[in-house]
């Protein structure tokens, strides 16, 4: 028995990795589902978006890269669907280089229109890029949404947006003059936005948006963060500086539940739950083995 405990005290990490791998993958193949409760912070974010009148303008800052895609991309997709349903116009920027590309990808993923192109008023519109259809709603690039692209400078970008949007983003993601688009009419500076939605995986991210946009320019901001970063941002939520927070995949799943757009985050919750359970089990086994072998050592 002691020998067993000594083995359990120092399990080869590869066995741990294998068990976690199985815990994460088996539920996906078995297509298991699980019910989730909505937390206060996600509800606050959802309510804030619901309270925005039709025609409001939201700045979406995608500050993440593919490494955080599993946690943040479902939030982006659900948020875009939510905005489209509420007829909220949005402008996408990125303080991380890959952010705007991730946002483009999210729009392509949520698009329900078939085919590659749509001809409208003699214009050829690329589906997923110039025109996005979700349910009964259609949005058009330049009129209902715009992608301004990435700008280097971290929090200095936010600071400069406070003075002028076109000075920081003279051209959009495609290299066309920003001021030529109808959506930019009346949008001169950061304070002209009605809400900021930030998806953040690190620096620069939510902390910088709170410090430079909310505190200085008084634009309400809601955020989606990775599970690792979320605890760091809770103080801002409690202080009222952040209007809602979605933390990790569970936050994304809760938001999907509230909006009714059940998708990736919800489906991944079972895997996450299984992995958590096994981590707890390993800790219990490790401690049990520790106490059983420690007692023996003390006796000796």
């Amino acid at each position: 028995m002691q020998k067993l405990f000594r083995i359990l005290l120092s399990i080869d990490r590869r066995i741990i990795f294998l068990v976690i791998f199985l815990a994460l993958t088996v539920p996906i193949f078995l297509r298991m589902k699980i019910d989730i409760d909505v937390t206060r912070e996600v509800q606050i974010f959802y309510d804030a978006i619901e309270a925005l009148p039709s025609g409001s303008r939201v700045l979406v800052s995608c500050d993440y890269d593919p490494g955080s895609e599993p946690e943040l991309q479902p939030m982006a997709e659900t948020a875009f669907k939510h905005f489209i349903r509420k007829k909220i116009r949005f402008a996408i920027i990125g303080l991380w280089p890959q952010g705007p590309t991730q946002a483009s990808r999210a729009l392509v993923m949520i698009n329900e229109a078939k085919g590659r192109y749509i001809i409208e008023n003699n214009d050829t519109l690329t589906v997923g890029r110039d025109i996005v259809v979700v349910g009964q709603d259609t949005i058009r690039y330049g009129k209902d949404f715009i992608n301004l692209g990435f700008q280097s400078g971290n929090e200095l970008v936010i600071q400069r947006l406070g003075s002028s949007i076109t000075a920081v983003f003279p051209n959009d993601f495609r290299g066309v003059a920003t001021s030529s688009y109808p959506i930019m009419s009346g949008l001169n500076r950061l304070a002209d936005f009605d809400f900021i939605f930030n998806l953040s995986a690190g620096y620069p991210g939510t902390v910088e948006w709170v410090q430079f946009a909310v505190d200085r320019f008084h634009v309400p901001c809601g955020a989606g963060n990775t599970a690792v970063q979320a605890p760091q941002v809770y103080p801002y939520l409690d202080a009222g500086q952040l209007t809602g927070l979605m933390g990790g995949m569970k936050g994304g799943a809760e938001y999907e539940k509230l909006t009714g757009y059940t998708a990736k985050a919800t489906m991944s919750m079972v895997s996450q739950t299984a992995a958590h359970i096994f981590v707890v089990l390993f800790i219990v086994i490790g401690n049990l083995a520790y106490f059983m072998t420690r007692g023996k050592k003390e006796n000796h």
Partner: protein, 521 residues
């Protein structure tokens, strides 16, 4: 003397903060409890007066409102109509009534009394309003089902605490501007240099309040506003084909403010901190002995490098994943200086893989100088410090690969890290290296604590330069930071926490005011 000054400071400081904080602008005035408003109905040839009010709390179908009118503010009031709430009305938050029996030219006062199942509620008296014909603005839908009431209490002022060329407008939103209204189309803001000249459109705003505590909508006009030039404004609400104009305000001029009054408190607190730091630096320069507690992670640096020397293996130094504009990177490079000096003295191989080009350049200078100061310039090689990639996980993958293949005896992680922290630390742990980490990223500290042998937590990283060099000026700054920052600020925090904790039960408005003292505008 020290203690008396401290106590005096703790008495004077809160009072100073209280008097220095920039007060908030006043809220708009609403007549309670229904916010009853009255206007001469636009588009009617004979004088008619429209009333608008917000529904009573817990209103149900069948509840009624008695509309009363008088020609004197003190009454007597006569009931002129009874508005009964039907189930169709319940979808809307506002109630309207048009008094078609008002005599043209006479002034009237109105009030509304609600009779609901939960009790009766009466509004305050609103008026006087002189009944007169008002033409409807051009291009509006006449005789609409819901009458558009204008935005009111428009005020304009020079935007506070800015560099000029900006005027801020605030107004009380139109009663028709309710959340989720599909008919309300927002506001347009018009400006002119003179009230008798044509006004031009300078911007638009969506519906909804900007400040829920003060019940105002805010718009900042920065379109070609000249400092010192007078401007006049009005705001137009748009609803279901109708438009309604607010009062005209002006003249108002934009100007530069030479100090941000909203940040006066920040200046004061920063001044105290900086003053303390400079004071103790001077004390240290004067030869005063300053105590610094033991920091295990820094004490272990010598031992860690020595271990690598004995084993004949390398020392890896990872200075974080952020650039030179991050203070943690600079703090991390300070420790690199010390580590490089030791590796030079012990002739141990040092590798510094970096994630940013500017960090590479700086780290090379530091390592080169350290080797020179140690008298071992021949052991220095530029390739000891090399760039890998800016990409977070590419960097982690590269370092992991090198750690697993080359198996260094000692690994330092000093600087700003993100999610890659655990990947790096666990890989280092798996090969049995001694690991000393230091970061001021609160989210990454638990990972380093779990996987590394020693961890410098937060400000211990910033204290490293003072700790390792024992230079009096640096030690003095540490002491100043502790006294000014921790002792004074934390004492201040405790005082205000006590005030706020009591105020929550006795005077909730005080809680908000204290919050405003410490918010940075």
């Amino acid at each position: 003397m020290k203690y008396i000054s401290y106590i005096l400071l703790l008495i004077i400081l809160p009072l100073t903060l209280w008097f220095l904080h920039q007060p908030e602008r006043p809220a708009t005035i609403s007549s309670l409890p229904f916010d009853l408003t009255v206007i001469n109905t636009p588009g009617y040839t004979s004088g008619t007066i429209s009333l608008n009010w917000f529904k009573a709390p817990a209103e149900n179908a069948g509840d009624s409102y008695s509309i009363m009118r008088s020609e004197s503010p003190n009454g007597p009031f006569t009931e002129i109509s009874n508005f009964v709430t039907s189930s169709e009305h319940l979808a809307s938050k506002i109630r309207q009534f048009t008094d078609t029996l008002a005599s043209e030219g006479r002034a009237y006062y109105y009030k509304v009394a609600a009779k609901t199942a939960t009790g009766n509620l009466e509004s305050s008296v609103v008026g006087p309003i002189q009944s007169q014909a008002v033409s409807a603005p051009p291009d509006t839908t006449p005789r609409a089902e819901e009458i558009l009431f204008p935005p009111t209490q428009l005020s304009a002022f020079d935007t506070r605490n800015d560099g000029g060329h900006s005027i801020t407008l605030e107004w009380k939103i139109s009663p028709n501007d309710v959340p989720k209204s599909l008919k309300f189309n927002g506001y347009e803001i018009y400006r002119s240099a003179r009230p008798d000249m044509p006004f031009t459109l300078v911007g638009d705003a969506t519906g909804g309040e900007s400040d829920y505590s003060r019940h105002v909508k805010t718009f900042t006009d920065g379109n070609d506003v000249d400092n010192g030039k007078a401007y006049y404004y009005y705001v137009v609400a748009k609803f279901d084909g109708q438009i309604a104009k607010s009062n005209v305000v002006g003249p108002i001029q934009a100007s530069i403010q030479y100090f941000h009054m909203g940040r006066l408190i920040s200046v004061l607190l920063l001044g105290i901190l900086v003053g303390m730091i400079l004071f103790y630096i001077n004390q240290a320069k004067a030869g005063k002995d300053l105590f610094i507690r033991k920091i295990a992670g820094l004490e272990a640096v010598d031992e860690a490098v020595g271990r690598a020397t004995e084993m004949g293996k390398k020392v890896f130094y990872v200075p974080g994943t952020q650039d030179m504009d991050n203070v943690q990177t600079i703090a991390g490079l300070t420790i690199l200086s010390r580590v490089a000096k030791l590796t030079a003295e012990y002739e141990t191989k040092l590798e510094v893989p970096v994630s940013r080009s500017l960090v590479m350049v700086t780290a090379r200078e530091i390592v080169k100088e350290s080797y020179l100061n140690a008298g071992r310039p021949d052991f220095y090689n530029d390739d000891m410090v090399y760039y890998l990639t800016d990409d977070q996980f590419g960097y982690a993958a590269a370092i992991d690969g090198m750690v697993v293949r080359q198996k260094p005896a000692t690994i330092f992680y000093q600087g700003a890290f993100y999610a890659e922290s655990l990947i790096l630390a666990e890989t280092g742990n798996s090969i049995g290296a001694i690991q000393i980490a230091g970061t001021a990223m609160p989210a990454q500290l638990p990972f380093f604590v779990a996987a590394c042998d020693y961890t410098l937590i937060g400000e211990e990283l910033f204290a490293a330069s003072a700790y390792l060099s024992r230079e009096p000026k640096l030690l003095g700054s540490l002491k100043g930071q502790d006294i000014g920052g921790k002792l004074v600020f934390l004492s201040l925090s405790i005082i205000f926490i006590i005030i706020v904790s009591v105020a929550v039960f006795t005077n909730p408005a005080l809680v908000e005011q204290v919050g405003r003292i410490f918010s940075v505008n």
